[in-house]
Subunit: 261 residues, 2 copies
């Protein structure tokens, strides 16, 4: 793509703007967690909204012809064929708890595939990115190539998901069939889990009930690191729903078989 | 205590030495996770051992009369009446997964109470400390006083624990009675959860099956921030076992009543 470097530069400006909007509110006593869906407590904060507005301002200035799909402010039409998919804070529950597993998610779709993505953690200063020739983590400890690890069988694998119940009762039961075979299962990592998979630290992430903006950025990062991201049936994952991200084809196959029952 | 400043300086030197020993191994492909107890996968790594040796070396140099109790190398007698209680890496499962909720734990007991403690996160650079007149978090975003938050009733509280099963089947059932009343329950934070409690970000941490070295440092940090740390019956928590840490007396009482059934 001829303007890959301009796209990447735009994404970094967007992530910088989101950091600037969010960090003063993280762990602030001023933060007010509204309650978007009282039934299951999905807090949305000023920080989410401020960060998405800040990213949209960068796009309006640098790439006004691209479309936008954002968690907080919905769809904005474009003419370029490219769509930026934004989750200003993935993991608002972690955010309002002061934990650092939340992230700013940026994905770029060409209408067919997610061709570039970013997972940014403003507090730790870690920025995972993948696509358009890039696969790297940059942060306070330097820059490192992203590469999934190989040759870990399921019985030695580390599996992550965000909520122990995973999704519906049936989805939870499917997940537990995989967890029962894995060596280690960890919870509560939100989007950061996909970064750890891309870094070669863990082997599988399995989630359910995702939205497209939850997975677009992570999908591009994991794929750029050599991993596989699909839905639980092996189809495209970019629309969200049930998602499995695996380091290798072998793990992907083994986990999908267990998910299917 | 007359030598409070020397004690604090020693603890910081110990934590610095542990960081130096651990960081080259964190997220390293050279890390080999041994398996101390194959039945339930309790990995111990070179990093744990190197970090405890590094902290013991500081004590041998600066405070040779103090006793030591460390997770990896056991007890060393002393003559001063003070005992350093060390967990070189609390949260080795998080560590070998690349997550950042693990920490170096340092506690100092005068034989009666834990009078000072530290939770250090080498990768994020965050250092929580409490006791001997201190209650602070120092890190890349500056230094901040630790203070638990007040006036949050249980139905608006955030609760954390490390493993969803918590401990035994009965302990898990007790925990879930509290979780059912809390607004938000999060898993997988290890010792970092006590830091978030001391920071006023969450309200309760409830765990079971702890060792003394798992809780000594966190206990001092939470108490210095104004919180309460006991066992599930309201007795001393410094020996580990079932531990509840609460921001306020009201939350402590409400959670203890639910734990008791």
């Amino acid at each position: 793509m001829q303007d890959a470097s301009r796209i990447i530069q735009t994404a970094h400006e967007m992530a910088d703007a989101a950091r600037h909007a969010i960090l003063p509110l993280f762990r602030s006593t001023d933060l007010v967690a509204d309650n978007k869906r009282p039934a299951d407590f999905d807090p949305v904060t000023q920080a989410d909204r401020a960060a998405e507005l800040a990213m949209r301002e960068v796009l309006a200035r640098l790439r006004p012809d691209d479309a936008i799909l954002g968690e907080e402010y919905g769809s904005t039409a474009g003419t370029s064929g490219l769509t930026w998919i934004l989750d200003p804070i993935d993991g608002t529950r972690a955010f309002i708890s002061g934990a650092t597993s939340w992230g700013v998610l940026i994905g770029l779709s060409d209408g067919q595939d997610v061709i570039y993505g970013m997972i940014d953690q403003p507090y730790t200063g870690e920025r995972f990115e993948g696509g358009l020739g890039r696969a790297q983590l940059a942060g306070p400890h330097g820059t490192r190539d992203l590469q999934v690890r190989r040759d870990v069988p399921l019985e030695r694998a580390t599996l992550m998901t965000t909520f122990p119940e995973v999704g519906t009762t049936a989805e939870g039961a499917s997940f537990r069939r995989v967890a029962a075979k894995a060596q280690l299962t960890r919870y509560g990592l939100d989007c950061y889990a996909y970064g750890l998979l891309a870094l070669g630290q863990i082997d599988l992430v399995i989630e359910a009930g995702l939205q497209s903006y939850d997975i677009a950025g992570p999908l591009a990062v994991v794929q750029a690191a050599g991993g596989i991201v699909t839905d639980w049936q092996g189809g495209p994952a970019a629309q969200g729903g049930q998602v499995i991200a695996a380091a290798t084809p072998e793990l992907h196959r083994a986990a999908m078989a267990l998910l299917a029952g």
